[in-house]
Structure formats: structure tokens, C-alpha cells
């Protein structure tokens, strides 16, 4: 038994739902208790579904627990065939049905003889497996049962493996990739699973190459297609300058297209991207900032690259994809001092608190942690939130993605110039709102100190002399608690027992050096 406040990865059920629910004319029967129909809610709320999502529950209730659920399942599948006439009916197990040890496979085999739809039961352990590995295994299984050898398309074409519903900005990414590839003259034959039909999967071998957009899933499928049908593939996610160039080059090489002129054009000095990155504005707002990065594999790797490319220091980079530890460390080697895997939300939250970077790049959960510690945060990875399903295009990948992320960082971090002004002239503290604890404490100490007795500013903190408190009050309120903490760490490391103005100034010098 494991205590969890938050799970970074979804379940096998959500993985299957994302694959099957993204395809056309595929209907999924969920074999589980009534509440597991919440999958419908994810599709209709987050993706603002226009249609009733293609999932039907075959409920496990008291009756099914006592007498077996076979009869109910058969009835549900027949009904789905009658009402929806899909090409494929996926019967998916859930945690609960797995624990019931019901043999869905045998039900499927019997039913398969009478239905027009092909019945597929995902070969997963619904209790244990996680979302992404399930997506990969299920995609491979689906394609494996459907695909056939085909003549190649006349012009060079690729399959895009990855875009699906409920992914992190994935449908916006798809638009951007379509434009990117069209610009360099590469055709897209099929997109999997988003919008794919059974026929698309059957003829997947028409394309010359597979492009696995997100390393979390789809690689198994690419490997299988390489092994059995000799199709080359790439798994570079085009986030940031270098990764995007590598992505284009990997495809260009296969297509025998020289992509260099195109790349050069995207980052030409006159273009908006270069002008922004090279501007003095960006120098003060972004350059030299200390960041931390956390997310799934592809976004954590990509964003780490991108930040380094614009001169932001990545103090550490982590991913929750535990199975990809070695690969992750290699992918960010040389870009950050510390690379790790972690799937415990609490631990990561504490790590952010202890690091206190200038800006956090993370998932929606890190946004929450950052808020608690009053740190700016840019969300760059799933787990997503309804806010990650914007109605206007917000890709993460390629050049538009880069522009979008830069813009978000720019808005998130306090603009450089503004920060200067605050430092020069002091700032007005927000009225009425609760300010940083250190600010309040400083005010209180200053107000109540009648003697010159040094007092701690926060519970458990070191005592501060009144003079040091006065200096602290000069520091902008939004960094005050950080300065307080850093100073206390600095002092205790050097054996001081009281914070004097002298200690504070020494600490200030020390930290501005690093």
C-alpha cells in the first residue's frame, strides 16, 4: 500500500481510452463498476466533446459480483454493435474487473463470431500498468492485428505517431507539425491514433518513415514496424532550437531533402524569434535565471534543451517516467547538474521548496507547489488541467511552440525592467493582501522591539538584530522570504548564531556571486 496525494501517470484504462477514443468508428466497452464511466467526463469536459464519447460501460454491480459478469458484458457488446455499428469494439478491463479475474478474452472470442465489428481485448494488466506503457502496448497490438504490407506512396511520406485526445497540447502540436512538414515538402500519410480509422492502421506501411512524436509511447510500435516492415523511425520531440533542427534533419535525411535553408530562415536575425531572444528585454528578463524542470520524458528533455539555448541555468531536471531513467539522464547530460526520476509528488514539492529557483517548469502539480512557495511556474507537461485545453493554438513543439513557451516565460517571470525599477526605487507592497511571511514578521518585529533583543522572524528561524531587520525591509517583498532563508542558511553554515546587518550583507555578496 502506498500513500499518494497525486499520481503523475494515469491508469491503463485511461491509456486505452485515449488510444481507442481518439480513433474513428472505434467504440470501447468498459468492463467495470459504474463509477469507472468517468472516462466519459474526461473526454466531454476537457476536450469539450461535441459527440457523446464512444464509451459504454458494462457495469459490475452486486449481481455481477455474485453471478459473474459475462451475461451483462455480452448484452452490452451486442447493444453497442446494434446502436453504433463500429468497425472495432474494444472491451477494456479495469482495475476492478482484473481483480474479479473475469476472462474477457473468452467472451470476446465467442462474441467475435457473431459481430460484424472486430472485437479487441487489450493485452494489459489493468491493475498494474500505467497510462503510457499501456498506450504503447495497445497501439502495437492494434496495428499488429490490422496492418498489412502495402506499396509505398509515390512521394515521400511519414506517419505521425502520438497525437491523441487528452494529451498535453498535442492537437495544437499536430497543427504545428503539419505546417512544419508541409513547409519542407514532406507529406503526412497517417496520424495515429488521432482521427485514425481501421483502414489507416491497415495501410500504415504505405509511408516511408514513422515519426514518434512523444517518447512516452509509440516507440514499441515503431520498433515493430521497423522489424517487420523495414520502416525507419525517429523519436526526437522537436522542442527547442537544436531538437527541432535534429528532428527536421532526421526526416530530411530519409526524404533526401536539405532542410538547412528552412531552419536558417526560421531563426534568421530579422525573424521574430531571433529578435526576441537577442533583445535586451530578454537579457534582463530571462538570461541567467535559475530554473528547474520536471515533467514527462519528452517535455522535460525538450524544455531543458530550450532553456539552455537561451541562457537560462537549469539547476535540475527530472521526469516521472521511471522506466526511462537511463535514457533521460543521457538525454539531458551536460545540460544540467542533476538529472533524476521521481514519481512522488510530495518529495518533488519539497525539492522545489529547498531549491527556491527563479522559475519552475513543471506539470500542473508543480504549479500548485510553486504557488505554495510563491515561485513563478510555467506548465510544460501533463498531468494537464482544463487550462491546458485552450481554444486558441498553443503548440509546444517546433518554432511556434518555442515562441509560445518564450512568451509564457516572459509573462510569468517578472519582466526584467520592472524588476530593476522595483530594486531601484523600492516597491509598494500589495495592499490588503497577506504578504510574504518574512515581510509581516519584519514589520512586527520592528514594531514591537522595544529592547534590542534579537528575535527570530519565523518559527524555528535564527534571531535577527533590529538593524538587520531594517535592511531586510529594504529588499523587495517578493524575494524577501527567500533572502531571509538564504541568509540564515549562510549564517548557520558559518557558525553565526545571530543575524546582524554585517552577516546579511556578507550573505548578499555571497549569493550574488553564485
Amino acid at each position: 500500500m502506498k500513500l499518494a496525494y497525486w499520481m503523475y501517470e494515469g491508469t491503463a484504462l485511461s491509456g486505452i481510452a485515449r488510444v481507442a477514443g481518439s480513433m474513428q468508428r472505434v467504440h470501447t466497452v468498459i468492463h467495470g463498476p459504474r463509477g469507472d464511466g468517468y472516462i466519459n467526463v474526461m473526454f466531454s469536459m476537457l476536450e469539450r466533446f461535441h459527440e457523446i464519447p464512444p464509451f459504454t460501460l458494462s457495469p459490475i454491480g452486486q449481481r455481477e459480483m455474485a453471478q459473474g459478469s459475462r451475461a451483462r458484458l455480452v448484452e452490452t457488446v451486442r447493444r453497442v454493435e446494434r446502436d453504433h455499428q463500429p468497425d472495432v469494439i474494444v472491451i477494456t478491463p479495469t482495475c476492478s474487473s482484473t481483480l474479479l479475474q473475469e476472462d474477457i478474452g473468452s467472451v470476446a472470442r465467442t462474441l467475435g463470431k457473431e459481430t460484424k465489428a472486430k472485437i479487441i481485448v487489450p493485452q494489459v494488466n489493468a491493475f498494474r500498468d500505467l497510462e503510457h506503457e499501456t498506450m504503447d502496448a495497445f497501439l502495437t497490438q492494434l496495428v499488429g492485428t490490422l496492418v498489412e504490407e502495402q506499396p509505398k506512396t509515390e512521394r515521400f511520406s511519414v506517419n505521425l505517431i502520438g497525437p491523441s485526445y487528452l494529451g498535453f497540447h498535442q492537437l495544437h502540436d499536430l497543427t504545428e507539425i503539419r505546417r512544419l512538414l508541409a513547409d519542407v515538402g514532406v507529406e503526412i500519410d497517417a496520424v495515429v491514433p488521432y482521427g485514425a480509422t481501421v483502414e489507416d492502421l491497415r495501410t500504415l506501411t504505405r509511408a516511408h518513415m514513422n515519426v514518434c512524436l512523444y517518447r512516452e509511447y509509440g516507440v514499441e510500435l515503431c520498433r515493430m514496424l521497423e522489424k517487420q516492415y523495414n520502416m525507419p523511425y525517429t523519436t526526437i520531440t522537436p522542442i527547442g532550437l537544436r531538437q527541432t533542427a535534429k528532428f527536421l534533419q532526421a526526416i530530411g535525411q530519409q526524404a533526401q531533402i536539405d532542410v538547412k535553408p528552412y531552419i536558417a530562415k526560421q531563426i534568421s536575425p530579422a525573424g521574430p524569434l531571433s529578435r526576441f531572444v537577442k533583445s535586451v528585454d530578454s537579457l534582463s528578463a530571462l538570461y541567467g535565471k535559475r530554473a528547474v524542470v520536471f515533467g514527462d520524458y519528452s517535455h522535460a528533455v525538450g524544455v531543458t534543451h530550450m532553456l539552455c539555448e537561451i541562457g537560462i541555468t537549469v539547476l535540475w531536471a527530472g521526469t516521472y517516467m521511471k522506466g526511462l531513467e537511463a535514457e533521460f539522464k543521457e538525454a539531458v547530460a551536460g545540460l544540467t547538474e542533476e538529472a533524476f526520476v521521481e514519481d512522488d509528488f510530495q518529495k518533488l514539492s519539497h525539492k522545489i521548496r529547498d531549491t527556491a529557483p527563479d522559475v519552475v517548469f513543471g506539470t500542473q502539480m508543480e504549479r500548485h507547489s510553486s504557488k505554495r512557495f510563491q515561485l513563478p511556474c510555467v506548465v510544460i507537461s501533463a498531468p494537464a488541467h482544463i487550462l491546458n485545453f485552450p481554444i486558441f493554438p498553443e503548440p509546444i513543439v517546433a518554432y511556434q511552440g518555442m515562441a509560445q513557451i518564450l512568451e509564457t516565460i516572459n509573462r510569468t517571470i517578472r519582466l526584467g525592467l520592472e524588476e530593476h525599477l522595483v530594486k531601484m526605487f523600492g516597491e509598494e507592497e500589495p495592499m490588503g493582501e497577506a504578504t510574504a511571511p518574512a515581510a509581516q514578521a519584519a514589520a512586527e518585529v520592528a514594531a514591537t522591539t522595544t529592547t534590542d533583543q534579537p528575535a527570530p522572524l519565523s518559527p524555528g528561524g535564527m534571531p535577527w538584530e533590529a538593524e538587520a531587520v531594517e535592511v531586510l525591509k529594504q529588499i523587495p517583498f517578493f524575494v524577501r522570504s527567500k533572502v531571509q532563508k538564504n541568509t540564515e542558511t549562510f549564517a548557520s553554515e558559518r557558525g553565526h548564531s545571530v543575524i546582524t546587518a554585517e552577516v546579511l550583507y556578507a550573505a548578499k555578496t555571497h549569493f550574488s556571486k553564485s
Binding site: 500500500m1 500513500l3 497525486w6 459504474r34 463509477g35 459480483m65 491493475f127 502539480m365
Partner: protein, 459 residues
């Protein structure tokens, strides 16, 4: 009850662990621990959009494969509980069970009792599995788990000499924690030798976890009607739960507390007043009248209050009159809401509801069946879709999963789950309540007037 038909296929509902969303802030120093699978955790964090509460007083004890083969989960559960204690220092933990616990047939009751002893504070079991139950029933399970904290007797009153007013409370304090099914036998520890247990005194207890501000107003209404002392179960603090015994009259506030009601009847021999629920001016008036009559109090004032409340709703009522409204069935509040809408003059074309407790709901049922309102228990979603096309309702009250698709088909919807979060009880909430029905309709009207009609022609 000819107007109740029964189908089979009410699928678009949440399971009872969803109730953690409104319960986890209800009790002081509490923590809610959901023992289940990865699915349960995923459900709570995605479907409910509970990300809003990233750091909250609830969490999951996620079963691992090793737990599936172990005969006793006390050890693993203890490990998780120790971590929770370190972080939150709760004074009570609610252990919510899920489908997997039912399927594995694990008995966590004994584990919870043992762990309560080890950690010296109550660790309570609430059976909230999603097998055949809908989400509001989670509250029922939690309230039932709290029943042992209601004393059987009135607070101990010192007999001979007058003592300071706080004294009885202080004495009561020590005894609030006791556990186990055989609770009745536990004698009340008497703090002072001079004190004797008082004869159970008749009292009135309102039952249901509704927002404090709403409950306060209901209590105030009852005070003004001549009932000076009104108790509420549950209170936010386990040490101040009201006494419930054979002289208690219990009046439920929510229509889904059947198990708690059952336990109150069986274990405490209390009288459960069967009335309608104080939802809408009509329901609130009916509720207050029945209580007054039970205590032989005059009811004239209730009529006056009801008239005032309807007066406040007038424009909304005029707007709702004749509107066709359909409930697909989700939160078990459907009968009361439909009764209110009917009183507003709306045309309720179907009351879908996951399940009807015929005994506890008899007063509501009578009002609906008298008016020939069709009630469908455990409705079949696919048949409902056909009936939607046939009835063309002006407003559909539906589960979260189907609202957007129905809107896309041109229908107007309200989320059924919202009614469990919003204050809807008493005269004071009547405006909020009716707005939950009129708001989607007004929105539709506004959009249509501004070029967002179904035709999509903005000219």
C-alpha cells in the same frame, strides 16, 4: 405508485468516493484516506477537477500487488496512516473503501478498530465502494460511521449543587471517543462523583452535512417557530455531536441518507420524521410545518415565510412556468428538485433517478405521483436519449459527462453535481436554487440574441 417505472442502465454517475470533495472540509482536524486502486486516484484527480485542492486533507492508500495476496491489510494500512499522521496530525481519519476492497472481500473494520487503539484517536471506516451506488451516498456512509460519536444520553448533568456553566461540557469531553458496534453497552464514564446521568430528554436533530451558513438559517427558522434547541448531526467537531436516543426526533435534510437513518432507527430507537426535504420554499415550508405539528406548535408563521420566499422568486418562477424539464438521474436529489420545479409551474417531463428509497422518500413521492410526474428509477441512458428527442425538453439536468454533447445537439443543460456543492436548503437559499435552473436558460437566450443561435448565423 404507478408512475414509477424501472429500467436498467443509469451509467453516467460518479461513485461515492467523489463525496470527499465536499466532506473533506466539513470536519475539524480530519483526514480522508481512500483505500483503492490507481483508478480511484485517477478518477478523483481528473474527473472532479480536484486539482484545485492540490494540497488537501485527503489522499489515497493505493493497493499494490503485494496487498492482493495478504490476508490482512492492517500492517500496510498502518504504514500509510503513520505517514498521514506525520504530515497532518489529524484527530480523526476516515478510511473510505472502494470497489476493490469489496471485490477482494477484505475486512477493514477490524483493521480500523485496531489502528484506532494503536494511535489513540478514531480511525473510522466508511464503505464508499462504487458497486451499485451513486456519489452522494458517500456522505451517507461517512455519517453512518460518525453515529457512535453521538452520545446515547443527554450530557451528564451534575445533580446537587449548582456549578459553573461550562462544567458539563468539560466532563463530556473525555467520553466522545468510543468505538465498535457494541457501543450501547459502554457506560458513560462519570467524571464527578456527584453527577448522575440525566433522563434522556426529548430533542430535535437535523441530519445532513450541509453548509454551516445554510444550517444556521434553518435552525433560526425553527427557533422562531418555538423550538429553542435544535441539534445538528454531524457537527464539525466529533466531541460535540448531539445526543441521539429513543426520545430524539431526527429529521433528514438530504434525501440520500438511508443507511444512516436506518442505523439511527435500529441502534438508537429514535423517531425519524418522514417529511419532504427543505429544498425550495414549498419543501422548506412543508418540512417546517411537519416539525411544528410533531411538537404541537402553531404553523401560521410558516405560511407567511413561505409566501415571502415565493415573492422573492417571482420573476424566476414566471420564467420557468411551462418549461419542459427532464432529469437524467445522478445525485439522488432529483425527487425533491422535481417537486420544487413542479411547484414553480414547470413541466417536469421525466424524473430519472438512480434509485428510489420508497420508505424514506414517501412524502416526496406522494407529492410527485399526485401530480402524475413520471419517475424512472435506474433509467436506461439510451432510451433516455430517444425520449429526449421525443420530449424536446427546454432544460436537461444531467451528469457532467454528457452535458457538453447534449448542448452540442442544441439542448440546454445544468450539471447535476452542482446541486450538491451549492446551498439549496431553506428559504434563504431559494433564490440560489432557482437560479441554478434559470441561469442556463438565460445564458442560452443571451447567446441566441447575440448571434450564437443553432444556425450559427451572426448577422
Amino acid at each position: 405508485m404507478e408512475t414509477i417505472s424501472r429500467e436498467g442502465g443509469c451509467l453516467h454517475t460518479f461513485c461515492p468516493i467523489a463525496s470527499v470533495a465536499w466532506l473533506h472540509r466539513k470536519f475539524n482536524d480530519s483526514f480522508f484516506l481512500i483505500v483503492g486502486t490507481h483508478t480511484c486516484a485517477h478518477f478523483i484527480q481528473t474527473a472532479l477537477d480536484v486539482m484545485v485542492y492540490a494540497h488537501s486533507r485527503f489522499g489515497f492508500a493505493v493497493l499494490e500487488e503485494s496487498d492482493l495476496v495478504s490476508a490482512n491489510l492492517t500492517g500496510p494500512l498502518d504504514g500509510v496512516i503513520r505517514k498521514v499522521i506525520d504530515e497532518w496530525h489529524p484527530k480523526v481519519i476516515f478510511v473510505m473503501t472502494t470497489c476493490s476492497i469489496d471485490i477482494l472481500k477484505v475486512d477493514l473494520q477490524v483493521s480500523c478498530q485496531e489502528l484506532s487503539k494503536t494511535h489513540e484517536f478514531p480511525i473510522l471506516l466508511a464503505s464508499t465502494s462504487g458497486i451499485d451506488r451513486t456519489f452522494t451516498q458517500g456522505e451517507d456512509a461517512v455519517l453512518k460511521a460518525l453515529l457512535p460519536f453521538s452520545p446515547q444520553e443527554a450530557p451528564v448533568v451534575p445533580a446537587p449543587a449548582p456549578v459553573p456553566a461550562e462544567a458539563p461540557v468539560v466532563e463530556k469531553k473525555k467520553k466522545w471517543f468510543s468505538l465498535g458496534k457494541s457501543e450501547p453497552e459502554t457506560p458513560a464514564p462519570v467524571a464527578a462523583p456527584t453527577a448522575v446521568p440525566a433522563e434522556p430528554k426529548p430533542n430535535l436533530v437535523l441530519l445532513g452535512a450541509i453548509p454551516d451558513i445554510t444550517i444556521r438559517q434553518l435552525v433560526w427558522e425553527l427557533n422562531r417557530l418555538g423550538i429553542p434547541q435544535v441539534d445538528v448531526f454531524p457537527s464539525a467537531d466529533l466531541s460535540t455531536m448531539p445526543p441521539i436516543h429513543e426520545k430524539t426526533v431526527v429529521v433528514p435534510l438530504q434525501p440520500y441518507l438511508n443507511e444512516t437513518i436506518n442505523a439511527i432507527r435500529r441502534q438508537r430507537g429514535a423517531e425519524v420524521l418522514s417529511t419532504v426535504f427543505p429544498i425550495g420554499p414549498d419543501g422548506t415550508a412543508h418540512f417546517l410545518r411537519d416539525i411544528c405539528q410533531r411538537f404541537d406548535l402553531p404553523i401560521d408563521r410558516v405560511y407567511q415565510r413561505e409566501a415571502e420566499a415565493w415573492g422573492d422568486l417571482e420573476t424566476y418562477v414566471n420564467f420557468l412556468r411551462g418549461k419542459k424539464i427532464m432529469f437524467l438521474g445522478d445525485n439522488l436529489l432529483e425527487l425533491s428538485l422535481a417537486r420544487f420545479l413542479t411547484a414553480c409551474g414547470a413541466n417536469v417531463v421525466e424524473v430519472g433517478i438512480p434509485y428510489v428509497h420508497r420508505k424514506d422518500m414517501q412524502a416526496e413521492l406522494k407529492l410527485l405521483t399526485d401530480r402524475q410526474i413520471p419517475i424512472v428509477e435506474n433509467p436506461d441512458f439510451h432510451k433516455q436519449l430517444q425520449r429526449i428527442e421525443e420530449y424536446q425538453p427546454d432544460l436537461i439536468i444531467a451528469g457532467l459527462g454528457i452535458c457538453n454533447p447534449l448542448e452540442a445537439r442544441g439542448f440546454t443543460t445544468a450539471w447535476s453535481i452542482e446541486f450538491t456543492f451549492a446551498p439549496i436548503h431553506g428559504f434563504g437559499s431559494a433564490v440560489d436554487l432557482i437560479k441554478m435552473f434559470t441561469k442556463p436558460l438565460f445564458k442560452k437566450q443571451t447567446l441566441a440574441e447575440n448571434g450564437w443561435g443553432m444556425e450559427g448565423m451572426a448577422l
